[in-house]
Structures are given as C-alpha cells and as structure tokens.
Symmetry: C2
Subunit: 144 residues, 2 copies
C-alpha cells in the first residue's frame, strides 16, 4: 500500500471536488445578480467535465475569464475554511460508516442464524459444511 501516493491522489480528488463546490457557489451567487450568466455557467458545467478541474478551468478561461478567476478565488477560500476540520470529520465519518455497516451485517447474520440452527441442530458447528457466514464471523473477530 503506497500511502504517499494515496495521499497525493486524494488531494487531487479533493481539489477537483472543491472546484465543483466553488462553481456551485458562484452559480448560486450569479442566479441573484446575473441570472443569464448563471445559466451559461450551468450549461458550460454540463458540457465540460469538472472531475478534471484544471482542464475544466482552462476551457472556462477561454469562455468567461472573469468567472474562471472568481472560481479560483472561491475554491481557495473554501479550502482555507474547511481544511482544518477535514481530518476529524473524515476519521469520525469513516468510523461511523464502518460501525453502521458492521451492525447491519451482525443483524443480518443473527437473523439468519436461527433458521440454520433449526435445520441442523448441532452442538459445535452449526452445519457439517461451514457456511461462508460462519467463517466470516471468525475472521471478522480477528479483524477487530
């Protein structure tokens, strides 16, 4: 696992995502002050893929240079404001999502267990040919 490369790629994805949020913000602001221009930005952003934010901006510079400069400013502002909260929100978010996924699986496994036991009541193994779920129970125990 190349964590350095993952961190770099994650940053790139983050930059593209914040560029998208900056575009959305500018579009919202324009919808109050200059609705036709807001619409043009909307149409432009449907045509050009903002997933590659730098290429998106380069094309926008050729169509509406002032807007492109404005998006640069807004994305930098958003990054400054949210950056410090991201580590904690990410850690908490992943832990919560994982707990939720694990709980759902536990519920599903305990819901299916009674049937299995009813069909093959045995003291040690629930069935002569252990099911995937039995093995997963064990390996999950080790993982945590």
């Amino acid at each position: 696992m190349d964590l350095k490369q993952i961190a770099k790629d994650t940053t790139k994805t983050l930059i593209s995502y914040l560029t998208y949020q900056a575009m959305r913000t500018v579009m919202d602001q324009l919808s109050e002050t200059d609705p036709p221009r807001s619409l043009r930005l909307h149409e432009f952003s449907r045509r050009e893929r903002i997933e590659n934010s730098e290429a998106y901006l380069e094309v926008l510079f050729t169509e509406d240079r002032a807007l492109a400069f404005r998006i640069l400013t807004v994305r930098e502002h958003i990054a400054e404001e949210v950056a410090e909260y991201l580590p904690e929100m990410l850690r908490t978010g992943i832990q919560q999502a994982n707990t939720q996924q694990r709980c759902q699986q536990l519920e599903r496994m305990t819901q299916t267990d009674p049937d299995a036991t009813g069909a093959h009541p045995e003291p040690e193994l629930p069935s002569p040919e252990p099911t995937d779920s039995t093995l997963t129970n064990q390996s999950d125990g080790f993982a945590e």
Copy 2:
C-alpha cells in the same frame, strides 16, 4: 455559501474516495494471493458504482462478506494514516494550482496585447511593439 454543508459533503466524497482506494489495495493484495478472487472483485467494482461507497459495500456484503469486511478495515486504516496530512496538502495543492492557472492567463493576456497595441498605439504602454519573449520573461519573473 454554506461552509458547514460543504464540509459535510466533502467528507462524504472523501469517504467514498478512500473506499475506492481501499478496494484497489485489497484487489492488489489478492492478485498475489488469490488471483481469481481479485478478478471477481475487479468485475464486481466495474458493475457496482463505488461513487456511492455505502451502497457499493452493502451489495458486496451479499456477494463476498469477508472481502467487504476487509475493505472496511483497510479504508479505516488509510483514513487514519492520511487524515492529518490532508489540510496542508490541500492548501498547498490549491495554491499551486491557482498560481499555475493565473500564470497561464497572464502569459496569454500579455501575448495578445502586442497586436492590440500595434493596432491602437497608446502612450502609457512601455513599448509600441514589445516582443513575445520580453513579456513572457517578465510574467515568469513575477511568478517566481
């Protein structure tokens, strides 16, 4: 601009992206130890959209529960390792990307000026027909 909502949405995007990176990591590991299973995970990830990571995992739990549990563990590990570096990498990354975009525009704007000046010579400008290389050198100088 609702920065709180943007921070929440950004975290969700980050979680999905790190789930994708965790899937890639597990797939790489399996390609050494269990190539057919690595291939199945590859095919599965082509079918199911990992952009919505929680829905992706829920379906994976029904197809290969142990693999899904493993991806939960790996994404939590990746998040722990990269989280603290993200704020600085994001700030620096956005600043660099913005500087680069602004320099490109400065170069483009100064490259188109000479024609305009030639057509309408005006007293304030430094020389009637500055060469491309002179202006490019100057804007390079400002950038560095």
